[in-house]
Amino acid sequence: MKYLSEYRDPELAKKYLEEIKNTVSRPWSIMEVCGGQTHSLVKNGIIEMLPDKITMIHGPGCPVCVTPLNLIDKAIHLATEKEAILCSFGDMLRVPGSQKSLLQAKAEGADVRILYSPLEAVKIAEENPEKEVVFFAVGFETTAPANALSVVHADRRNVKNYSILASHVLVPPAIKAVMDDKESQIDGFLAAGHVCTIMGNTEYHPLSTKYKVPIVVTGFEPLDVLQGILMVIRQLEQSKSEVENQYARIVREEGNLDAQKVINEVFEVRNQMWRGIGEIPDSGYAVRDKYAGYDAIRKFDIFIDEAPENPLCISGQIMKGIKKPYECSQFGKTCKPENPLGAPMVSSEGACAAYYHFSGMVEI
């Protein structure tokens, strides 16, 4: 595919690796914020190809992983008690709530459907006027326009049996939270290319200035990631801390203003709980009052007790790069991909699952 397979060229990848080796002079810890980049690192075996001096730290960049336990419980409640058609992206289904996952709820008879797009959910609502249809609208800034758009579509087409269970998380506050943690030792960041496609790069300049870290907005293919790493290291080696854009073929400085408009039409910024990390100020989106009728929480007036997270799970520390998955006492023992205790064991981009699956450290 054009603009995709070209960025997987093995020969050029080798050159980049060589250049990285030649550039790096001392140990650096780089966090890739985004799970998509983690995925690329592990799928292509890049981590082991990097010089030992470079440590990649898998950040909290998997919206599925950081969706609060309580919200999953609410989604399950909607599907089972309210008998709604609960639509979701596929990777949300295996994430454990306090009692069960959506996949288990489905196994027990709930109508849970995997969709490619939230816009499909509006169609399902139209086709099933006698049922309530709820879309589990998780995602970073990238997914927010599509989720917002589904609400706008439903409103325009007067689809009253549609609503979203919104759980958006925002990247810049998360970088802030990581850097504010005293234990964190991150030297530089690969910022999430697709988040910046929507929001642009402007939010990152104050961060790189404040925390004196290079931030390179990076794509997802091997060459993108390698170039991004090289760009971070070049800055580090030269003691710079700037925002650079590796992914300029997609990302504009100002982002996508039309997308930002639809986000602002439907959502407003609020404090947000991150699973394993806790509440981060101004790090999520709430549905505006204007669209309260499309906000599943308000529409169904659901209240589910906050269940405590598993105290043995150190996912917060892992997502901040303070600990490695194998430093968790439960890793590979009680906590495995087929029975995850915490969210980072669930999706293959979750830091714990990535280690479990791909590192070969664990004898299954």
Binding site: L12, P63, P145, A259
Partner: protein, 91 residues
């Protein structure tokens, strides 16, 4: 996060009483619908990045070449030869 891939717009139609522009986008031969509401000026034959059924960015062809030229630019590409061979080609 945020799986999104580039595809080429094959055709555009207006749906829902003229309110929504929807494109048929080809991803290496497979075709899926995507909303163009975030890209009001996208046209047929444009390459766009699509995420969960919504096109969110037009690919900038010029910028697309930079990854292949970067090593050369930073002066570290003595032996790479003709950069063009790595550049995205027309499909």
């Amino acid at each position: 996060m945020c799986l999104a891939i580039p595809g080429k717009i094959k055709s555009i139609e207006t749906k829902y009483g003229g309110m929504v522009r929807m494109a048929k986008v080809s991803f290496g031969g497979i075709v899926k619908e995507a909303s163009l509401e975030m890209l009001p000026d996208a046209e047929v034959d444009d390459y766009v990045l699509v995420h969960v059924g919504v096109a969110i960015s037009k690919v900038n062809e010029e910028e697309a070449q930079k990854t292949f030229k970067y090593l050369e630019e930073i002066g570290e590409l003595g032996e790479l030869g003709d950069v063009d061979e790595y550049l995205p080609k027309p499909e």
